[in-house]
Symmetry: C2
Subunit: 341 residues, 2 copies
Amino acid sequence: MPQLRQDLITGRWVAVATERARRPDSFTQAAKESVAARDVCPFCPGHETMTPPEVLAYRAAGTAPNTPGWWVRVVPNLYAAFRLEPDGQEHQDGRFWQRDAIGACEVLISSPDHRATTPLLPRRQVEEIVQSYVDRYRQHAQNPALEHVLVLYNHGRPAGASLEHPHSQLYAVSLIPPSFLDELAGARRFHEADGECVFCRTLEDERQAGARVIFENEAFTVFAPYAARTPFETWIMPRRHCASFGDLEANEKPAFAEALQLTLKGFYEGLNDPPFNYYIHSAPLKADVSNLYHWHLELIPKLSTAAGFELGTGIWINVVKPEDSAAFLRERIQKEAAQMA
Amino acid sequence: MPQLRQDLITGRWVAVATERARRPDSFTQAAKESVAARDVCPFCPGHETMTPPEVLAYRAAGTAPNTPGWWVRVVPNLYAAFRLEPDGQEHQDGRFWQRDAIGACEVLISSPDHRATTPLLPRRQVEEIVQSYVDRYRQHAQNPALEHVLVLYNHGRPAGASLEHPHSQLYAVSLIPPSFLDELAGARRFHEADGECVFCRTLEDERQAGARVIFENEAFTVFAPYAARTPFETWIMPRRHCASFGDLEANEKPAFAEALQLTLKGFYEGLNDPPFNYYIHSAPLKADVSNLYHWHLELIPKLSTAAGFELGTGIWINVVKPEDSAAFLRERIQKEAAQMA
């Protein structure tokens, strides 16, 4: 059972996930190790038995679970850093305290096509991916043991993707992650002082300023945040105030899929398919924050390296102005949108 | 002039360092770019005019500044994300607020030898490197405009080193970095509750537990922290309670140099020279925390990738138990220490 440990000094949380069972000497060659090509992809159709049994699949009528015929397939992560079944190993040894890392880790396979990364998929398929996010989010949101659900995508090995076949991931966890404590504290402070949602206010300010807005459709605004941490950091935010991604409405789904795909296409074409991470920030499940939180997607391309300064201080150094990265992406995405229209 | 921007929602700080003047389209090939070999290393002897004039050098008697003859040389960073001269561009545009990124960035060249990484240097030279850290720390600590001094080392390109010639870096900044606000809050909480320094307590607990201790000499303990963020995260901590690295005593210097070099040698030999970052955490310059803060060095090897989960939640996933990494390094370092003795 993976364990959560908390640093006594900073309060920082770490999940020690020994399930992956990497021995220390397996790291000896890590720096020079080349990626071994996999003969067999466990996410490709026909290899369904290589993964744990599916928990959701959109598949052709008449096809059996865990056989081909699906177009989106969700399975538990074989190397789960969080698990739903506690084993009671929780214990305290003086000031060294650990508890079971309770939660769920899932893999959401984007498409049967091993090479079909999101920018290249039919729009309809991107909508199906978004639907799988919503379905699994809502499923875990009902579990009273859980506090938070994060949907994310790692693209490219430098961004932490270990399998090539395009897939998103879901982490449902039994604690409110520190990132959200920071966001919620700021949102609460702003709400108390100014009586409104800090995300709604930011959206309005960004739209008025204009310089960092990259793309808009009827329901979403894509922009470079004012204090972007890295070159080309990009956020996608619904203009309707809504705390939880689980409350995405059916009529917002096509607009979200469009905003997501055009943004990814802007990166793919404009920056030559760079590695990136994106994740959807949604309100903690049980926190009473519907008036002050506002779900959104944050995309962080891996075009620079967080080094000793960032690790040691928590301050980021960004070598590109967000206004410049926004102008660059805006031009590419408008071109893409025109070609698609 | 580089600018500091603060995220309205999280309070996160970002230094937008446009001095490096990378245009957005310079990132287009980043993912596939190979590292261009440099014909001429600006840190090698004979190339002193390729850097800004030196601010400190330990050099042979009779040699002129900015000429060969030095064994440690410190110069301002040509690509400084912080600068001491404000240009008054501080301004607020509605809720978008920025201020000058005031501070100093320096490069501390380890040795005239382009290939001599710390594990391979004579011990005497490592002591000289430590002396350069202390000298520059103390110099900046006297500047009333500054709040904090961080000394760090980036090793290897995956860890953010852009030049091969071994060098440390110093960042002196005019704000208390967020990492320290977290540490100080925890240290203060512990001190109020238990009446002692949380770092002293941790040292005692670790020495008693033993499982995570890697090496000890007369003044320093090297150990894997209980909630290590990454495989092989390692801390070096003085056993004498002391808040500021600037107060390192002359008789502690050889012990610190020994602990640092043996630790780095353990990584170099045991893990095949992996990329890493280390930084020295020392108390903020003006904070009255002498009873509750305790300087130390944190070393984070780059053997895993912080991906969407870490970025999105602030929780780290570590696939190796710190007890296991400590046992692995302890064995190597004891072998090294025996060979050197």
